[in-house]
């Protein structure tokens, strides 16, 4: 499937781009993370500690074991600091 993968804040800086379109067969967010980690060091660095990251699938916060199903957009970012 085709997925838009978005990165924010220091995840964006570490990977070096704000978004990319990828082809993947990943079944869950965790599978997608494994695929991305295997790509290059900058991805491995960004995804080194999942406890420091949050994920949204189709713009809803979810967990790393969430299935991707028919997802169109996955975003990775650090814990939010609004307000």
């Amino acid at each position: 499937m085709t997925l838009d993968v978005l990165y924010f804040a220091w995840v964006r800086e570490r990977i070096g781009l704000p978004r990319e379109r990828i082809e993947t067969d990943a079944a869950t967010v965790a599978d997608l993370v494994e695929e991305l980690r295997a790509r290059e060091d900058r991805y491995a660095a960004a995804f080194a500690d999942l406890a420091a990251l949050r994920v949204a699938v189709d713009q809803d916060l979810t967990s790393f074991d969430a299935p991707l199903g028919a997802a169109r957009e996955v975003a990775f970012f650090p814990p939010m600091t609004g307000g």
């Binding site: 978005l6 949204a56 609004g82």
Partner: protein, 145 residues
């Protein structure tokens, strides 16, 4: 319910007057403003957000507040972009028949906006720049609700 995500500055006084004005069904209005604080050497703050998700996430939080408390209305304005020290980042206002609901709902909204609205703050100082780390206490605060 009025949720706005914008880069432009806003006039909190005018917003509050407009929010509270012209209605006779509420007896209490509470507002909170968040400002850019300079603890020393801050040039500006950069606030990044997730455009597709931000308004949706805040509307979800505001809807939950309206379900939990008897409220007449909720207003949330949150800015993104480059903000100087002293600038207003955001404001929340709640209107309710009675003050307890207005205070509690505003407190709830702030706790959730802090940890569940997709904004990230970066402090740019004279000697470098750092992303503001989320505090464990902010996450723990959600447990109050």
């Amino acid at each position: 319910m009025d949720v706005r995500v914008q880069s432009d500055a806003f006039d909190a006084g005018a917003e509050l007057n407009a929010f509270a004005g012209g209605r006779d069904d509420v007896g209490a209005v509470v507002s909170f403003s968040g400002l850019v604080r300079d603890d020393g050497g801050l040039r500006h703050m950069e606030i990044e957000h997730y455009p597709g998700m931000t308004a949706k996430a805040i509307e979800g939080i505001a809807r939950e507040a309206m379900e939990r408390w008897t409220l007449g209305d909720v207003l949330v304005i949150h800015r993104h972009g480059i903000l100087r020290p002293g600038a207003r980042i955001m404001m929340v206002a709640t209107a309710a028949p009675h003050r307890a609901a207005a205070f509690e709902a505003a407190d709830f909204l702030m706790d959730y906006l802090k940890s569940r609205a997709p904004f990230w703050k970066k402090e740019v100082r004279d000697d470098g720049a750092d992303w503001v780390a989320a505090k464990a206490a902010d996450e723990a605060a959600l447990g109050r609700w």
